[in-house]
Symmetry: C3
Subunit: 276 residues, 3 copies
């Protein structure tokens, strides 16, 4: 049997929201060490990974490793009305075809039995060499920047130096640039300061529509980390919890503009298919 309990049902809802933005269905692996998920977006251009360790949960039990195929649209609908004080339990039998989702409110208990779905497992091998630049900034600020520039066009150019980072989009009639400086006075909340570690200045382009989808994970973490290299996929990483217990990470290959603006497919650019 597998069973875990979220003290805040709203956290489960936020996790589903952040994954659902990229794919309607996914397979989540539950094992004695925790939860893990890898999935590509429906257009196979970007990749999402999600991890949450068993230690994160007040109560966690997993007798045998299971692959649970979930319809995230359905789960999202069921979690729509959870409030901050609700608790959520997930449960599955070792050889069952259902996931049990139990929402406990102060005065009532709601139990949903959700049919599991069969999905082909994709095991993807993610390249995780050292990035050329690492940017840490307030997640709400990154979200705002993506939202502000999205109406102008789809190619976001990031220019990173030691002093700051600029995000630019050149549209047909309007172009826009947002500049964030690292030497800006620290804001009230320390987490909001922008920090950049880099080996050398970098200029690199990404599909803004996808970056903007990644910011759906903003409620999960006050900060976001962007790991950037010119020759490998960008990693946009949100921590879950405060003790390194979990994270949601999105991977997106850079846009290569010089040759016919062909969009790199994720299969070739983001991941190597695992043949082992």
């Amino acid at each position: 049997m597998f069973e875990l309990r979220f003290e805040a049902a709203s956290l489960l809802k936020q996790i589903i929201d952040a994954i659902k933005e990229l794919t309607d269905q996914c397979t989540i692996e539950v094992s004695s060490t925790g939860l893990a998920l890898q999935a590509m977006d429906s257009s196979h251009v970007s990749l999402i990974t999600f991890k949450l360790k068993a230690e994160f949960f007040a109560s966690y039990r997993c007798d045998r490793t299971l692959n649970l195929g979930l319809n995230l649209k359905v789960l999202n609908k069921l979690l729509k009305t959870v409030s901050n004080t609700d608790k959520a339990t997930l449960r599955a039998e070792d050889d069952g075809d259902q996931l049990k989702l139990i929402i406990e409110s102060p005065r009532r208990t709601t139990t949903f039995d959700v049919k599991l779905i069969d999905l082909e497992a994709e095991v993807l091998n993610i390249n995780t060499s050292e990035p050329k630049a690492t940017i840490k900034m307030a997640s709400a600020e990154f979200k705002q920047i993506c939202a502000d520039l999205l109406p102008l066009g789809d190619t976001l150019v990031m220019e990173i130096t030691k002093d700051g980072i600029s995000f630019s989009v050149t549209g047909s009639d309007t172009s826009g640039t947002v500049t964030v400086r690292t030497d800006a006075e620290p804001a009230e909340d320390e987490g909001a300061r922008t920090e950049i570690q880099l080996q050398e200045p970098l200029t690199i382009s990404f599909a803004l529509r996808l970056l903007s989808q990644f910011t759906k994970a903003t409620p999960l973490s006050p900060t976001v980390e962007l790991r950037v290299s010119s020759d490998q996929p960008l990693c946009v990483s949100y921590e879950i919890g405060t003790d390194g217990h979990g994270s949601i990470q999105y991977y997106l290959a850079p846009k290569i503009e010089d040759e016919e603006t062909v969009e790199p497919t994720a299969t070739s650019a983001v991941v190597d298919d695992d043949d082992e």
Copy 2:
């Protein structure tokens, strides 16, 4: 002449809202004792009754019993922007064809003349024998339960015992059950406690879409009473005011599933046509 005054125009708005959910047009009977209305929903499956005694109003006058045919969509539109401090007066001449609606704000007076419509009066005879079970619960909680289960399917099964009540819907891929216990610790506000009086355990099904429409009356009352029997229509009752001055009640025949899931028509199942 007929004239009455609502100290809170918003209450008039809530009453119109609760009736409009079932029918666009209705005939309201105004007499020396108060207001009364009976109407069937547009699909003739459920029934609504509304009563409000003359004593409820600070000012009430009715020289002669009148049947006022109202277009509720129009009234709803006119009341859309009333605020909590507005007062509302309704007035009609004995032989007029208009209803006057006067909204008084601190600094302005708005008068609407609304044409009355001719509707065939339906006098319906409602069966009001003693219910097998009576459930009193927070109206907001009942509304939430209906809203949570509605996406799963349209047949709501209620299982009532002395210890509590469960509401279940079995959908194609997902099924859900909400359980409310009577022994749950009393919540902060006493009205929120669930109380059940019953003669014997009952299991009975209803069309959830209609139940869910009834919860539009939630703003009128902190509690709702469900009167359930296996062989007669469910009554969902909301009190208006605190002294038994008025109520809105919805009637819905149980769903009978065993023979071809034919939906019972209200004419046969909810009411007896009055031949007297």
Copy 3:
């Protein structure tokens, strides 16, 4: 070069909102004395003028008079997410084809380059003889009155006496009248009192849909002034700031109902084309 700075970017947003309601594109004249704009609505029935003096701005520079052709829909989109603490700078070169819009937030700077458009300049001559009646009232109240009556029909009849003003619409099934009295006790905020100056009682009709569009300027000012005459266009005027530094004014010719309800064209009724 031209450059000015709004201490509150939200004010720039409100101005764009108020103008955009009538026209998507407009030419704004910037000179050493300030900003000025005249535009007709897209159906050429009403007219808008906007003025804001150089003194209004903490920082203002204009070396040479420029006519800047703006796409207001684009500007509106760029300003959608400005917050109250943001500052906005507008800048244009003397012979450039771009407007620079710079939004400064505490921690980031956003720069937009917006292409200017070529528009035929309309110089219109507005008749500004003494009005027969001048009404000053809370802008929010005027907005509410327009919104309340709009669903009933499009011809608003204003009846102005020394004691008050009534706004009426006669629809097919429903008619409505809002009465505002000048002798009403002064409300908490003094600006909310309705004041009327008039030479003789007036009854006059206007297209309510357009009046209702004018109220988009409500956030700019707590009061609105209506200047009414029977033989010339109504002027609906909103002050910007408190020292007579600026205003937005809308002009609308009365509706003439007696002969075939022909809608007067603005060219003939609101303005005289300037032949000088």
